[in-house]
Amino acid sequence: MDKLDGKIGARELFSIVIIIIGIKGADMTPANLFPSGQSATWMFPIVWLVIMTIPIWATLSLLKKYKEKNIVEIIYLLTGKYIGFIICLSLLALLFTATVLNSRSYVDIMNVMIFPTTPIIVLYAVLIGSSYFIANRGLETIGRTSWLLLPYLVGGIVLLFIILGDNIIIEYLYPITGPGITKVIKSGITHSSLIGEFLLLAIFFPNVRDYKSYKKGTLWGLLLSCLIISLLFIEYILIFDYVAPQMMMHPYSQLTRVTEIGMFITSLDAFFFGLWILTGIIRFSFYLYGGGAILGYTLKIKEYEPLILPITVLTIIVGLIPSNPSQTILILRDNFLIKKTWIYFFALPLVLWIISKIRGEVKK
């Protein structure tokens, strides 16, 4: 307990990034991606990384320039009181929608796969309630829990690959470019907001020990997350071929049901489900905490931690609105949250960077 200064280091940040982004390979995201990516869906994360290099670099250079300031403060500083407020509010709205839709999809998966008769509100309350429990303890706890969980997560994925080694058919990856390389790139670009969390992470820049560990944590985290997503997609294709994942609601749970060790130990899905749900809880605790932080900074409230509870309750209430679970989530998430927002995540850091450049020139 000697280092509790409320700040996190590179490794905590690194594991947070993996848990909030890397796990997208194992939620309902594949259902959004496989119809357009087919046998080349695994290339998407690479496209995202390439596309988002420029905004990531812009964000990093902004953070380096305005030391000790987070992204919300930088937005206010660069765009003024009113426009800044609107931008921050939009950021908050995006994060909140992401929290609601993603958590609802988690609840739906649990409901369909494991708890068919449990009321959704109970599942929701338990999931988000546990997340709140972690979020309430602050960023340091989230970071440390992530770091604790990370070895198990990586170990689990490796184990999944070893267990399923016998069942894979390499030929399923062909035709190698799926629907054609241009289509893959186009669709990859429109889905690149899936790694848009790098912008949200910038809220916590002052909570990270220094710029160097921030840079190290996010960049390596993004790289490894995309690798994990890519590998999971490859695994889905190798086991199910490219047609079946297009129709599956949640290929991860179907994949884990295929697992067998030897003759008598069949379906290790309970083990992988446990891992998945733990990751989910930490992921949403970060989202909740991030929501509280953005709201706090936007309204210029110093003590933003009490704001997490109302956000938690609101998440559950809004999350219960969609009645037809998977379809609504699929349509809403794909058409609105993912496809429409990539330009936002792409352009905002660039615009901010350009404004900061111009201002710098004027000051001189």
Partner: protein, 411 residues
């Protein structure tokens, strides 16, 4: 404070009970095998074999008179709703999570309704994609009811062992729901499902150990089950069958196989009427080259096979004589090539479907999925120019070096 923390932890454990979906092991009835037959109208006759967990366990004494399984058949619109209907006589909750085997009657497999069956299978979370598909010659209900394994009391173990054994021997294909759906969804090739029957139909003694279809093996005693050969399914319907030998050849020619080693007999090249028995070991994957540049695809298959000669009825000394060994290798290669070409012709002309999964290798030749779909492999395959070339390597001759000198003994 400590008290508060502890009680909080205890309260947390309330969430671990499974809430509304709590299931007691005692209340479950585990279905081991599911059978489906055509029923009247839009319905099916659905048969469940429910395992009795007490049989074969240390708790046997408490349930001495109980049978190893309960078999019930209901007429229901689908597999899922039949689960509830089964409760008219079964007091426990019927669960599919441990079901390993899915038996479909030939009649149903040949009807248009065959694919509809799989809609329920993919949607229900309890059903695993690793379930085995068996096509039974008679009604699935009769198949399940008359399947009485002598050595295995517990039905699930019987199916489990059966699956492993037959998979290794190559007499039947490995056919799971997952693989079935892949072949049908890809829509480029056919699927081979395990073909089985209870009881003999007409036995054909042909002197070869694997040229049989289910029901043709001359066998007495034991369980009347016969599982050999495969049912060929094309575009969602069963169109024909192949025998055990043809199935083994298919496995040798496919890009992927789970079969590992099996025994097979071949005519002795020096004395045609005598047989050689060999253990076949598949050695790595066959090299499959598909040329799609012309209008007709050209498929070249080079299949490596390792062989251990275990029995030579002709008493010819192959071990000492390198020339004879070479001749033997060539002869077996020739035999395998010839038999495969007959099978390929059968697939092209009679079945008109790619049962060798060569479409998988063809996929490598295309850059995009639309190009591959335009090529229309399922229609191109019957015209394909196929060249099969086996590469046999004899690795050993069993534990005996020389054959018994039969002439000396007879003198």
């Amino acid at each position: 404070m400590r008290f508060l923390k502890m009680s909080l932890l205890l309260i947390l454990s309330l969430f671990l009970t499974g809430c509304w979906d709590a299931l007691e092991l005692e209340e479950q009835a585990y279905v081991v095998a599911v059978g489906m037959d055509l029923g009247e109208g839009d319905n099916y006759y659905i048969t469940y074999q429910i395992g009795n967990p007490q049989v074969g366990s240390s708790d046997r004494a408490n349930a001495e008179r109980e049978p190893a399984s309960e078999i019930i058949t209901v007429l229901a619109p689908d597999k899922i709703s039949a689960r509830e209907l089964a409760n008219v006589s079964v007091s426990r909750r019927v669960t599919f999570s441990h079901a390993k085997t899915f038996i479909i009657s030939e009649e149903l497999a040949k009807s248009e309704k065959f694919l509809e069956v799989f809609e329920a299978v993919t949607r229900d979370p309890q059903i695993k994609r690793q379930m085995d598909i068996i096509i039974s010659k008679e009604r699935a209900e009769d198949f399940i009811r008359n399947n009485n394994p002598v050595l295995e009391t517990r039905p699930h173990k019987n199916y489990e062992l059966m699956d492993e054994r037959w998979k290794a021997s190559g007499l039947v294909p490995a056919s799971t729901i997952n693989r079935f759906l892949q072949r049908e969804e890809e829509d480029a090739g056919g699927f081979l499902a395990i073909y089985a029957t209870i009881g003999k139909t007409d036995t054909k003694a042909n002197g070869m150990e694997d040229k049989y279809k289910a029901g043709e093996v001359d066998k007495t005693g034991g369980n009347t089950l016969q599982m050999i050969g495969a049912a060929v399914i094309k575009e969602g319907r069963m169109i024909g069958t192949i025998n055990g030998e043809e199935n083994r050849l298919t496995l040798l020619l496919r890009p992927h196989t789970e079969a590992t080693s099996w025994y097979a007999t071949y005519p002795d090249p020096y004395k045609k009427e005598k047989h050689l028995t060999a253990r076949i070991l598949r050695q790595g994957k066959p090299k499959i080259k598909v040329d799609v540049s012309q209008s007709k695809p050209i498929i070249t298959v080079e299949a490596p096979v390792k062989m251990q000669i275990l029995l030579m009825r002709s008493f010819i000394d192959y071990v000492d004589d390198q020339e004879k060994q070479k001749f033997l290798t060539k002869a077996i290669e020739g035999y395998l090539n010839e038999a495969s070409m007959v099978l390929v012709k059968k697939a092209q002309n009679e079945l008109k479907v790619d049962i060798f999964q060569w479409s998988l290798s063809a996929r490598k030749e295309f850059l995009t999925i639309p190009e591959f779909e335009d090529y229309n492999w399922i229609d191109k395959f019957p015209q394909a120019d196929v060249r099969v070339n086996f590469k046999v390597q004899i690795t050993n001759f069993g534990k005996q070096l020389k054959p018994i000198n039969i002439n000396k003994i007879k003198e």
